[in-house]
Each structure stands twice: as structure tokens, then as C-alpha cells.
């Protein structure tokens, strides 16, 4: 949980403070005086639906079979994320989400910022979580926006102070606003300044958040656990389970079959081959697919065992 370091630089005789760029660290943090601004899919921690008055509303949708080109059993659910919000972090002192669609502060928390692990993945392989990639909160949520009738909002942009503090600029109807949010001393409070008028808002502990739970906690290797692993690591982005074509070979009927490989004799897809394909994906390349394309995943022994069982279950 390394914070963004501050590097004082001398440049053409002007002293200035420049933040470091983002790194592979999936838990980036700003500083109390110098916030970090991040635009990403932030979670909806339980806002009243009426807060999203100026958003569109998605609905469940029939699942699509890429094999038949038609609807299949089941429905796609929706993820509880906010599409176009800005997340700001002042270190442990204050984090908040300000939305560019509603043009208002949506929620605030203290003690941490966002865990981007489900979206950014890890160095060397990425690994976005297929249907669950929204960033997770870290810290104590203490403020949630309430529904409020406003005229049509229009986001204009923001200005940064010398220390990088944003002042959001927007219109509600014809009226233009400038809004700045800052941490203050004290638990569960912050200062909000709108068009020069400052107020201190105080909330109360609403919920606690620890970021993303990285371990799947598999007790013993099963095909069912393997299905979870398959979903969690986003394998389906390349490997279908219904025989349809994709970036990698389909897993349907793969186990037990004889596989043509690039530059070698066909191999039998037994458990050892499946294991090798997961742990050292580039040892052999399935015929017709690009070499060196699949990343090696760092999986626990039980995750690998479960995946093998799951892939084998797709041949039954």
C-alpha cells in the first residue's frame, strides 16, 4: 500500500511539487494536502436509486450463446458501479466520489481509498475479474448522498489548485457552480465549499470496507470450485465453454481429446496436459492460435486442481 511519493523538483528556477505516476500498485493513495484523482468504475455502496435521477437504467438481459448466436438459458446481471464518476483521495484523511452525471458529491469515506485489483489485475498478467471488476472501497463509509431535485446538470470540468485540489465546475439549469471538498480534522467529517460558501458536513459510520478479497478459499478441489476460478480469473474472455470460437481454444470437449499443436505431434489432453496448459501455457500452442498469448497465472494448487476438474466436466 505504497502511497504516491512526492518529489520536489527544481525546474527552470521554479520550485514545484510533482506527484509520481501511477504504478502497478492496485491500492494507490494520495496525501492529505495533495489528493490523488482517479477516474474509474467506482462502486455504488448502496445509494438511494433516486440519487441516479439523470442516469439511464439498465436491465437484465438474456444470456447470449456465442455458439448458436441466440439467447440461451439465464440472464446477465448488472454490476453495481457508477460509470462516469471521479474518485478523490487525500490519504487516510478523506476519500470521496463526485459524479459528473449528477454533478454532485455521492459518498465519502475515511481510512483508505480504492482497491483496483479486480480491474487492473497484477503485473505480468493483468487479470480483470470478468463480471466483477468494479473497484472496491477501503475504509469506513460515513456519508451517502440523499435524493435531491435539481435542474438538469451539466459537467464542465475542474481546476486544480497548486497542490492538486480539484474545484469542480458545473451548471444546474442556467446557474453555474464551483465546488471544492477538503478534509478537516475530526472523524467522519469534511468541508464542502460551493460558490465560496463553506460548510462542514459530519456523517456517521455507515459501513466498513476492506477492499477486494483475493483468496477464493477453496476447501477441497472440485469442479464447482473450478467454475468459480474460471469466472474469477476471466478465462472466459478467451476460452468459451460451448464450443464457440474465441481468442483461445474452446474448453468444450477438450479434456480427453487429441489436440493438434503448432510445430509438434498431436497430444492427448489428459490431466497432465491441462495442468501444463494452465501453469506453462506457452509450452505448447494449440493449432491455429498465436504463440505466447496466454499469460501464466499464479494459482494455488487447489485452484489448478479445481480448474482441471472443471475442464474435465465440460467433456462429460
Amino acid at each position: 500500500m505504497k502511497s504516491r511519493l512526492l518529489l520536489p523538483l527544481l525546474f527552470l528556477g521554479l520550485s514545484r511539487v510533482v506527484a509520481d505516476p501511477l504504478t502497478y500498485d492496485t491500492n494507490p493513495l494520495g496525501e492529505v494536502d495533495r489528493p490523488l484523482i482517479l477516474r474509474t468504475y467506482v462502486p455504488d455502496p448502496g445509494l438511494d436509486p433516486a440519487v441516479f435521477a439523470h442516469h439511464g437504467k439498465a436491465s437484465k438481459s438474456p444470456k447470449y450463446s456465442p455458439k448458436t448466436g441466440r439467447d440461451t438459458k439465464g440472464e446477465y446481471g448488472m454490476m453495481r458501479v457508477i460509470p462516469a464518476a471521479i474518485a478523490v483521495n487525500h490519504g487516510p484523511a478523506l476519500s470521496y466520489v463526485w459524479d459528473t452525471t449528477e454533478c454532485r458529491l455521492l459518498y465519502a469515506w475515511q481510512g483508505g481509498f480504492l482497491d483496483l485489483y479486480p480491474y487492473w489485475g497484477i503485473e505480468g498478467s493483468g487479470g480483470r475479474r470478468s463480471f466483477d471488476y468494479g473497484a472496491r472501497l477501503v475504509g469506513n463509509l460515513f456519508y451517502l448522498a440523499k435524493p435531491m431535485k435539481t435542474e438538469t446538470p451539466k459537467f464542465l470540468g475542474y481546476d486544480l489548485s497548486e497542490m492538486g485540489v480539484p474545484t469542480f465546475r458545473y451548471r444546474l439549469g442556467d446557474q453555474e457552480y464551483a465546488e471544492t471538498i477538503l478534509p478537516v480534522d475530526g472523524l467522519y467529517s469534511f468541508q464542502r465549499t460551493v460558490n465560496g460558501k463553506a460548510t462542514t458536513l459530519k456523517g456517521e459510520l455507515l459501513s466498513e470496507h476492506q477492499g477486494f478479497e483475493r483468496n477464493l478459499k477453496i476447501k477441497s478441489a472440485t469442479a464447482e470450485a473450478g467454475e468459480q476460478v474460471f469466472g474469477a480469473y476471466g478465462c472466459v474472455a478467451c476460452h468459451s465453454i460451448d464450443g464457440s470460437q474465441g481468442h483461445g481454444p474452446s474448453l468444450q470437449g477438450l479434456a480427453g481429446s487429441t489436440r493438434p499443436v503448432e510445430g509438434g505431434d498431436p497430444v492427448k489432453a489428459d490431466a497432465a496436459y491441462l495442468r501444463e496448459s494452465i501453469l506453462s501455457p506457452n509450452a505448447k500452442t494449440a493449432k491455429g492460435f498465436p504463440p505466447g498469448y496466454m499469460p501464466p497465472y499464479q494459482l494455488s494448487a487447489q485452484e489448478v486442481d479445481s480448474l482441471v476438474l472443471y475442464i474435465q466436466s465440460l467433456s462429460k
Binding site: 501511477l22 502497478y24 477516474r39 448466436g69 489485475g121 486544480l160 470460437q245 501455457p281
Partner: protein
Amino acid sequence: MKLALFCLLCAGPLSAAPYLVEDIKFPPGVPPEVGAIDFAPDGTLFVVLRRGDVMRATPKKDPGSWTWELFATGFHNGCGIDVISRDQVRVTQMADMTEATDTNGDGTADRYRVFASGWGLSGNYHETNALTEDGKGGYYLAVGTASHNGPTGEYTLGEYSKFGRRGRNFASVKWKGTTLHCDAEGNLTPFCFGFRMHNGIHLDSSGILWCGDNQGDWRATTPLYHLEKGNFYGHPSSLVWDERWPSDKDPLATYREDLDAYNKHRTMPAVQIPHQEMNRSAGEPYEIPAHFPHFPGQMLLPDNNSRRITRIMLEKVNGKFQGACTHFLNEGGLRSGNHRVRFSPDGQQLYVGQTVRGWGREAEGLQRITPTEKAEPFDITSFKITPKGFELTFTRELAGSLTESDLKFKSFTYQSRWTYGSPQENKKDHQVTAVKMTGSKSVEVTLDSLEAGRVYQLDLAKIKSKDGTNIQNVLFYYTANEVPGK
């Protein structure tokens, strides 16, 4: 000159690699996930990284010793950048196009303003956007679709369409899968429809607009499209955002069931590029500038999914663009993930931005490609259709006259449909009925038959030039949408 000399010494003139490929390093620990690149008028190179940072550096000869500065931060998956000046950039991020300006000259942007907005955002991870300048202070924007390998959010930016949500790559919110025009004031209007994922768009020096796309659903293979106002380019989902499409009709189901109507409605690719053999997933097409020593005026198309860049030779036949493709560079130290292209201001070097984040094995970074000699590699530089065959022009004089056995032609067709890519169909082997040298570098080939609507594959023998150089490429594909004189 030193560069060429170095290669001369190490490998000899006959087998020297035509290009030096160098890795441009970012500061340690910075994920080099290059969303887009562009030069400022003063030669500073700007890069928008997908986690949100915009970095800038003055290019240096030594690729490992650039001094990168953080210019701006806080963008969501920016995949298009236009650098107005060393102090101002415009970035297409997921939700909008934002202008970031350094107003006080301290080296970092302090004013962020929405330059253009109005397309939707569903919460899907796949909805990235790219830009090209329109030459009049505005832009053309390629607005990407969502993928069925990820969900939408519960609440969307802009209105939601249930028909747009159907299928593999989808357009559940406004203008996904379309190309927009953005005027100099930031006003958006749909320009054309029907894209799956046109990851990159390019206005060439003649003011002609191009984009590629990714082989997949409704994409038989990797296409290069010539974009014109109002057209439909074949991926149905975005039609829900076309006012001319009936609002009670599911475009995907309609065209799945009626390929004839689909084929009548759609505009074909100018060039169809076999995805396994040439290009699996097109990045940004880019015209080779006049000052680059090799193949000026031809089109490059980076492969986002292999270690190669395609070279496209275009011509106009019966008023429409079509042409041939082969490799510009295949391997040779190139990484995969290729999707953005810019030439250095002097036109002598080519920069390629790479990213595949979350899509297979990581292939992220920035590479620089420099020709090792001024002379073009021995290759076909012009591939033109004639009423009965093709006229090929080589970069160098040939060692001897070509014969029928040096030129093997096959042809096939493609039909895009809902499936993920389509096979090569109606395959035909051709007889070369005549070969006529029309100059020391050019040859006219007559085939037994030539038919509009087919892709012609040339397997060229491993011929030599008069100066003893081996031919660089032996595989070419010509898309004959039109045959002249017919």
C-alpha cells in the same frame, strides 16, 4: 548512417534486418499500457497510459534514457490523444473527451475541461474510444462497443437500449459502435455506423478517413474500411442508435435471419486482411508520410494481437478504394499489442504504442522502428488489378524475368455473419495464363479468371533482385471488390 553501418558489419548487406526495433523505457514501476500517443508541434512525445496518467518526454536517441514527466492525471482508460501544444492535450477517455491545460507553466495540467461529451457509458470494460483530427479543428471519434465477456452497470451514462444490449459485442448505450464527427466546438453528430471495435481511426493526407476493426462477430476477417457519411459498416448492434433504423426492431436478430438484406445494407471493407496470416486485430491505420524512406503514401495497420504490422497498397477502381496487403514488419523484435502509430516529426522513425491489458498475455509498451538503410527492402511496392489479372511493381530490379511458376494465385470469398469470424469460402486455384515483364521492376500477370467480390492470394516464389537481395514478403492478398472494365 552509423546505424546502417552497424548492421552492415554485424549481419552483412544481404540479410540485414530492414528495421531496428527499440524499446522506449518508461520510469521503473510505471505500467506502460499505452492508450495512445501523439507529438506536440515542438517534437515532445505525449503518451496517455490506460490507468490515467499522461506522460511527456523529448525523444532521445538512446531509447533507455528518456526523461519522462507526468503532465496530467485522472483519465479513465484514455485511448485517444491529440496534443495541441506542449501545454495542452485532449484525451478521449471512457465517458468523454477532456482537454487538460497547463495554464501557469509549471509543467503539469491544472485546468481540465470537457471538450466533447454525449456518447454513453454502460459500465462495461470494453468501451474505449479513439480519435483522429478532421483537419478543421475538430475530430472523428471511433466509439467502441461493449463485450459480452463483461456486464453493464445498473445505472448508465445516457439512455439504455435493450436491443442494443443483445449479442456478443454490444451497443447498449448511445453511439457505441459508431463513428462520430466532433466539430471544433465539441458538438457531436453520428457520422457512420456498424463497427464492432474500431480501435483506431485515421484521416490521411488527402482527407480520406480510414479505420480497421477486429475479426469477430460480423467480421469475417480483419477489415480496413474507407469511411463515408451515413454508411453502415456491417456490425448490426450500433443500428439501434441510427435514427433511420426502426426502433421496434432488433438489428442483430433481423440480420442474423436475413443475410441478403444485411449484404444490401452494408458497405464492404476496402481491404479484407486474413486474420491468421496477416492481422488478427487491427489497431489504428496510419499513412506512411512522404519523408519516410520506405513505402511513402502506403498504409500501415498494426496488429493488436501479434508481433506484426500490415502494409496496405491501395488503389481506386471504378471509383472505390481497394487493394493488397502484406507484412510491413513481422517479428524482428516487435512486441504484440500494437495499436497506435505516430511518425517522428522528421518522418524518419515510427513509434508504435502497445497494449492488450486484460486481454491475453501482456504486451504493453512503446517501441521505435528505424529503417536500417534508406533503400527500400526488396518487395512488391505496387499491386494493381487489371481487367484480366494484376500488375506488380517491385522496389528493385529483378534478377531475371518471372515465369508462371513464380506466381501462384488462389482466390476465395468471405461472408460476415453472427459467428466469430468466417472461413475462407468458394476457394479456387488459378492458372496464370501469361506473365509479361513490363519493365525491369514490373510484371503483368494474366489469370484464367478474375471476378469481383473475391480475395486473391498470391504466393510468390523466393525470388531475388538483380543486386542479389532476397524478396522480403512472399504472401499477398488483394481484395477485388471491383474489377476494372466490368
